[in-house]
Each structure stands twice: as structure tokens, then as C-alpha cells.
Symmetry: C2
């Protein structure tokens, strides 16, 4: 089969690789209907994360179950499934507590030894603990929204949950990537009264508004902080979603949080120094991390199938899998917010 | 009147200072029945915090209202009151949200310009927003426990609240000072099934057990972490209370937290580097800060008056105010856990 491999910075290729087969009785093999490129894939693409040449890249996918191992009980061939960005056994104490992303037997999607999401097929370990099937094969128009449940929508949801968003809140979302935009959608869906998106890019502002942002602040840094404080009579936001992961974005997040608020963070931290004294003096908490998207999948899938949310709007570019390298370039150059890849062409 | 002043490291004195008077219509003047020395006073005493020579020290007190300003409505002369360690207006958005310790008009107790808790009298600003009176003047035997509500018990309670302690939890308390011991008491009172105190000092271990600790771990660092993990089948604690504030104590707190747990922190952070990558990977949150003891006072006062909790056990030394300098030495040399001072002698 064909799958995307990374060889060096700015060198991703569609390569011929072995067809996946059932290796463990808990495995499933999935024919990929759609995959996509993640903002976090760009860390590798740009060489900011270490690269093992020839390893698979891409960890978001939806597809049709082709084959299951003898122990698999909850999905069967023909099912349409959403695949979270990590596989989890579903039975360890962390999984049972709803933190499948910290599964004691966690297996990544993609990488040196596992199939990734940017290919034609993928072997998925721990099918019962990982996959969630739709009740029936969905209309193709729903595929983009379902695909976001593999990562970005569940991650934005996690940011909002971790930040303790509640009905009536004023919520600030730092970051206008796909995750930040999904954070806007999550906050609005949770009943926030005001959702403030920090974005200076018009196409992203537009999606933010479609997702429920009531305010868009185009300023950055101190000017953005001042704008939020003005909006909140100097008090700050009830909840803040940190969806970037840089020191600057963390600083902004803490600066706009009201006393007693929580910053929900899901951006992979790179060079972040947590302002612990400010947290102490102002009682601002920090919670979040690698999102347990598996925990949120049933609820969010119901919302997508019912048309209550349409997170698939974050995909502003669709390409056949054969153009995966162009897709990376689009996202790297910020010409695309997020690129969906269709192995079918 | 006489009040304690600090002049240089290891130089605290009982000095003659002006009698306090009502300056604002929202003030009250309190005759101090009991004050005490806080672990945080030792930061100044040891010269680890900057000292303004001649400034007042001590921020914990209970006493009898002597006089009130014309706007004061909730307390009156003759009332026995607990004084939180900071004065808060009670009306700003932060106060109304239950974060009186982040009051927009916060006034410290003690310091360069305000009366402190280690003296004979104190002018307390924002009496209505700050003071909480008992229904009647309590029996003298209850004074130590009521005094802890001024700081350490409310602070231990805040650590447990911030950490999200719930019935059935396994809770680890890092720190066996008065605040840590009160954190043990708070966790037990909130229904924790197992409360693990980290302490190597026998008198503190004894109080921890009286406060409800089900396990005491005398090891430190990695050995302590291993002991907690063994106790929890490798999973970690459901909630962790960080009651010290050093980099080592934070490291221990994060190492023993289970995935999805929160570290509740109330120790003033000194040189702490927050392990943000670990927080991210394991979904461990951090919440807490300067405790809004005023928010917890009514509930905790009810518990003390009913005999449901007896936090006054943390005072293992009682001295007349005239011996305040000896009291500091006792605590500095760890001969005393916490020293209560009686202006009456």
C-alpha cells in the first residue's frame, strides 16, 4: 500500500510500504477514508522535532474496518470508525478514569513501527479500547467533521473542559489554528456567553465567528491583553484556552485570566516557563495536556451526526493523498488552515 | 501599645508603637486575644525575604472588637472575631467570586504601614469584608483552633479544595508544617479514603495521624515517590496537596499524582520550575495560590465550634507576647511546629 513517510526536514513522500495485517487478536485493520495533516506534524516537517528517516507520519484518520482480530468485540468489518490519535487499551486505571491519552499501554498512531493516518490502510492496536463506530456508514458530507474527532475537535473540547468552561462564562481562546477554532466551538457549545477569539487572520476569524465567537481580537501580546481586560471591566476571563504552546501564548493566557480561573492548555509546550508566582498570587490554575479524545468521542459523534456542531469547517483544503507533500507545504506556508487527504483520490 | 517589629535577619522585637485608631469608616479596632508565628514569617526572619527595618510582622490573629467605624455593619464592639491574614473589601468582583485573597483593594495585615497580628491591638480595614464573628465569645479552649482559621487551616483547606479532593480519594500531602497538617485534616474532613502524610518528624507524624492521616511516609524524594506508587498499584494519588513551595516538594507532588489529578498548591513558590511537559503528558493540573481564607471561614468556624475539627493541635508552643523573639527562635530551629502568642501574658 502507499503511506506517507518523512525523511528529513521538508521531505515527506508517499512511499510503498507493506500492507498491514492483523498481528494481535485485539487489532483491527482499517481502510482509510480520510486522513489529514496536523499542526503538530509541522514540528517534525520543519525539523523542530527529531526525525527518524523513513518513519510514518500522520495520526488522524477515519475509515472502514476491513478485518478484526479474534478478540475484538465492539467493531466489525464494514463499520465506519473514528480513530483517536493514540491507541489505548481501554482497561487500565488511566483509561477507566477517562484519561485514555495516558493509557499505561499507549501505542502511537504513526511513527517508526506503526501505521499512520496519511496512507491507504492502517493496523490499529487495541481496537475495542480505541475505535468508535458510527451507527451506520455516514454520508460523505459528514466525513470532515467526523475526522476532526480524531484529534482537533476532541483537543479543543479538552481545552474547554480543562479550563472549566460553564454556561454564562466569558472565555478567551488563545490560538487560531484548527485546535483553537475547535476550542471556540467547544466553548460555545458548552454555553459560554462570550467567546473571545484571538486571531489576526481573516479566514480564521470567519470560521471562529461561525463556530460561535462573539468577539474577535486581532491585536497580539499586551494590546490583546488590554482588549480582554477592557471587555471584562478589568476582571479578566472566566476561562482561558491555551491552544498554541509557546511562551508568548502562555503569557497571554495567564494575563487575561481572572482570579480563580483556569487556563486549559492543549498546545504542546515548547520552551514555556510557567508563571508560577502569578498563578500563586492570582489563584489562576493550569490544567490540560494530551487530550483523551477517546473519552469525548461518543458525545461529540452524536453532536456531529445530529448536525449540532460542524467542526469540519476547519478543513479549507482537500487533496488526494498523492498530493500529501503539497498539503504540507500549504499548511507550513499558512495558505491552508488544515488539509484533508483522500486516499481514494 | 506593644507590637512585634522586625529590624534585620534574626532581629524581631516587641516595640512600643502608636495605639491604633479608627481611620476610615470601614475600619475596626481589635484587641488581640491570640496571635501566632507563621512559617512564612520565617522567610523574613531568616533574611530570605527583603526586610524594611521597623515594619510590623505577623498576620494571624483573633480578638475582641473594641471599636468600629461608622460604616461597619456586620461586627460590633464586644464581638469575638477571626481576622484573615489579608483584609478584603468584600464587594469587588474577585471577592464576590470567593477569591478575597485577590481583592482588588487588598490590604495586608502587618508590614510597613499596617498593624500586624503579633501585638496588643490592630486596626483592621474593611471590617465587613474581612472579619467573621463567632455567635458568642467562645470558650478559651477553642481559641487556638479559631486562630488557625486566620491562615493555616483555611490554607490547608484551600489546598484540598484546589486539588479537587473528594470522598473516596487517595490524597497525598507534601509538607508537614502547620499548613500541611491542616491539609491532612481538610482532606480527611472532605471524605478522603486514604490520606498519606509525608513526614519524617515524629511529633508531626503524631498530629497528622490525629488529623486523619491513614498512612505516614517518612522517606523523601524518590523513595517517597516509590512508596506512594506502591501504595496505589503504580497509578498515583487522586489528589496531591503541595504545602511547602520548593522545587523539590513540587517535583515530589507531580511525581505522585495520577493521570488527570490536580496538584493543589499553597506553599509560596521559591525557585520552583513547573514540569510543564510532565503536566502535558500526564494531564496533571496545578491549582491553588494565596488562600481565600475569608471564603472558608463561616464553614470552618461552624466545624470548630461544633468540635468536628480541632486544628488548634498544630500549636505545640504557647508563649506570652513578651517572649515573641524566643518564639521565632523555637520555630526557626524547628523545636516548635507553631507558636501561639498571648498578649495577655
Amino acid at each position: 500500500m502507499r503511506a506517507t513517510t518523512i525523511h528529513a526536514p521538508f521531505d515527506v513522500r508517499l512511499s510503498e510500504v507493506p500492507d498491514p495485517v492483523i498481528e494481535q487478536p485485539t487489532d483491527a485493520v482499517v481502510r482509510i477514508v480520510a486522513g489529514c495533516i496536523c499542526g503538530s506534524d509541522l514540528w517534525s516537517y520543519r525539523g523542530e522535532n527529531a526525525i527518524t528517516p523513513g518513519s510514518r507520519i500522520g495520526h488522524e484518520l477515519v475509515g472502514i474496518v476491513e478485518q478484526t482480530g479474534s478478540d475484538v468485540r465492539t467493531v466489525r468489518p464494514g463499520d465506519f470508525v473514528v480513530v483517536p490519535f493514540v491507541a489505548s487499551d481501554g482497561t487500565c486505571p488511566n483509561c477507566r478514569a477517562g484519561y485514555q491519552s495516558v493509557c499505561q499501554n499507549l501505542v502511537g498512531i504513526g511513527g517508526r513501527t506503526n501505521d499512520g493516518g496519511q496512507g491507504e490502510y492502517a493496523r490499529i492496536p487495541y481496537a475495542d479500547g480505541t475505535l468508535v463506530a458510527t451507527p451506520e456508514v455516514p454520508d460523505d458530507a459528514l466525513v470532515p467533521s467526523l475526522l476532526t474527532l480524531s484529534d482537533v475537535m476532541g483537543t479543543g473540547w479538552h481545552a474547554a473542559r480543562a479550563a472549566g468552561v460553564r454556561a454564562g462564562h466569558t472565555v478567551v481562546v488563545v490560538g487560531d489554528g484548527a485546535v483553537g477554532l475547535c476550542g471556540v466551538l467547544a466553548a460555545a457549545r458548552m454555553g459560554a456567553e462570550r467567546v473571545v477569539a484571538l486571531s489576526r487572520h481573516q479566514p480564521r476569524q470567519k470560521i471562529a465567528r461561525e463556530f460561535g465567537a462573539t468577539h474577535v481580537i486581532a491585536e497580539r501580546g499586551e494590546a490583546a491583553e488590554a482588549a480582554v481586560l477592557e471587555l471584562t471591566d478589568g476582571v479578566g476571563a472566566d476561562a482561558v484556552l491555551e491552544c498554541v504552546g509557546t511562551d508568548q501564548s502562555f503569557a497571554t493566557a495567564f494575563a487575561v485570566a481572572r482570579a480563580g480561573a483556569t487556563v486549559g492548555f492543549v498546545g504542546i509546550p515548547h520552551g514555556v516557563e510557567v508563571p508560577i508566582r502569578t498563578m500563586f498570587q492570582r489563584n489562576v490554575g493550569l490544567a490540560g495536556g494530551v487530550a483523551p479524545v477517546r473519552a469525548y468521542l461518543p458525545e461529540l459523534m452524536t453532536d456531529v451526526l445530529a448536525g449540532a456542531i460542524n467542526p469540519g469547517l476547519v478543513f479549507d483544503e482537500v487533496r488526494p493523498l498523492s498530493e500529501v507533500a503539497e498539503g504540507y507545504r500549504s499548511m507550513h506556508e499558512r495558505r491552508a488552515i488544515k488539509t484533508l487527504l483522500r486516499p481514494g483520490g
